[in-house]
Symmetry: C2
Subunit: 318 residues, 2 copies
């Protein structure tokens, strides 16, 4: 399991290309939740999501031979953009499998960063299994979404949170494959075990939550529209860390996530994708337990397509 020290060691790899993201306090959200509410703006990253920290840490540590062979991965979008960004930064060839119905903005963004993107299969897990095969055949490194080097890289945002707000009480973090929640948990519990770390996932894609709650790796139906939360098959290594680090793990309906997208637009003027808005949806659901506390909501990413945004506004406003 990665340690606080491993995450501290990732910082130079991250800050070679990125700056810390802001942690902003919002009076409107604070009023709404009856708490003191800050948002960690990972949507401000150059590719619009926290994962870019992990990609940069991973590629920084590759051998010359690994870089020369190119790297392979699968992604619904943000993880792929992260690896593509890092590959471009270091001149490493990147090949990405994405599900056939992937968010077209995210596919365009991965291609814009120079990656080769191949659409394959009905969901992330199908694309992942297929691309892992191809990487093995070609002798290149397949980067899974829960690689420890990614966890250490993304954990650097949690270090920024505890530095900017040392007396934080609760951090609410969305869970897709779990790298963000793991990095946050490792940092928070090492710095101050009293900091509560609460994961959240869509009720329409509850595999990670069910696995956490039951202590066993269980797959589950996946029909969320929030692709950043769309995990059907749980990951063993992040589950192991989350078991130890999460104080709670909340499921929120996609409809509540969509409502949270609108609330965040109104109070922060930031566009959150579904995963990025799930932390607010979860906080609203457990509002009673947050009363008066210092709460950080991780806005993990902002890569919502214009079409999806329009649909949400049609449903949620007026």
């Amino acid at each position: 399991m990665p340690t606080l020290n491993d995450i501290i060691a990732a910082r130079p790899n991250v800050y070679r290309f990125l700056r810390p993201t802001p942690l902003h306090h919002y009076p409107g959200l604070s009023q709404l939740l009856g708490a003191h509410v800050w948002v960690k703006h990972e949507n401000h990253q150059p590719v619009g999501a926290f994962k870019v920290r992990g990609g940069l840490n991973l590629v920084a540590g590759l051998s010359e031979a690994e870089r020369a062979a190119g790297i392979f991965t699968a992604s619904t979008g943000n993880h792929g953009q992260s690896i593509a960004f890092a590959g471009r930064a270091y001149g490493v060839r990147v090949t990405i499998a994405a599900p056939e119905a992937a968010n077209p903005d995210k596919v365009a963004a991965m291609r814009g960063l120079g990656a080769e993107v191949v659409l394959h299969g009905p969901d992330f897990d199908a694309a992942r299994e297929w691309m892992a095969q191809i990487a093995a055949e070609r002798g290149g490194l397949f980067v899974g979404p829960t690689d420890e080097r990614l966890i250490c890289g993304v954990g650097t945002y949690a270090l920024e949170i505890v530095e900017d707000l040392p007396d934080v009480d609760v951090i609410v973090v969305p869970v897709g494959a779990g790298s963000g929640a793991c990095g946050t948990g490792i940092v928070a519990k090492a710095v101050n075990p009293a900091i509560q770390v609460i994961g959240c996932q869509s009720a329409q894609a509850p595999a990670m939550q069910h696995s956490w709650a039951s202590g066993q790796l269980v797959s589950a139906e996946m029909r969320t529209t929030a692709e950043g939360l769309a995990t059907r098959v749980p990951f063993e290594n992040t589950q192991r860390i989350m078991c130890e680090m999460l104080d709670d793990f909340v499921l929120v309906d996609d409809a509540d996530i969509d409502a949270a997208v609108v609330t965040l637009l109104q109070h922060t003027h930031n566009l959150a994708e579904g995963a990025g808005a799930a932390s607010l949806a979860a906080a609203l659901q457990i509002k009673d337990r947050l009363a008066g506390k210092k709460v950080v909501l991780v806005m993990s990413g902002g890569n919502l397509s214009v079409g999806k945004l329009h649909d949400i506004l049609q449903k949620q406003t007026r």
Copy 2:
């Protein structure tokens, strides 16, 4: 006229409370414009707009007596949020007049930052003249939107641009009262006179552009929906600086600004308010002149209301 040195001197006042904002490169916008395109993300500021830099610089320099008397200003929203933010940071009482039809999100945000907001008059200029009277009666400082201390504060974003991208060719900057354009011009021309600084304003609120083009202070009809550009009566001091510093000053239709809001959502996943999107609208209009160049678009702010966003998406998509 403020100098580069005055703007450098403002930095400690700004960085006491804020971090530099990102300058992100966007492949999608670059393709669209046939240029290398970066966006300066002033929408990432804690109050969602560049002006907060100016407020912090101004309040930092007030005397004890001025702080004790409280400060007064008028605003369509962003300037007021800036002064309110700075007032809260230093414990100074802030009173703000806003036009009766002010963006309700921005009014709520000013109040959320602890300012007293009074709605008065049909537009910014009416609110301003009224509040300046009241400040004089009460013996408090009235802060006009083009105070030199504000220009120096906001100019710090231009320093960040030339530090992050020393070989920038063109900076496109929206003009409301002109503080951003002045700060940008002073920095750019002092650092490298070959950097082109291009202002832009709504064709539905062309007072500042008409004044710049004619060399005389002329008011003009004001019916833009982009409140950050909604100047009816031009400002003498910013006009004087812009005369010297701007290479061009482009008018863009409100409809093109609305289209640019959607294009920015698509390619950057950032919400821009009208003023913040005007720089892209202007760049698209003068695309031929930008071909192959390194272009920075200043996204001056992101405080678009959800209702207005919904209206824009209704008109622009599908």
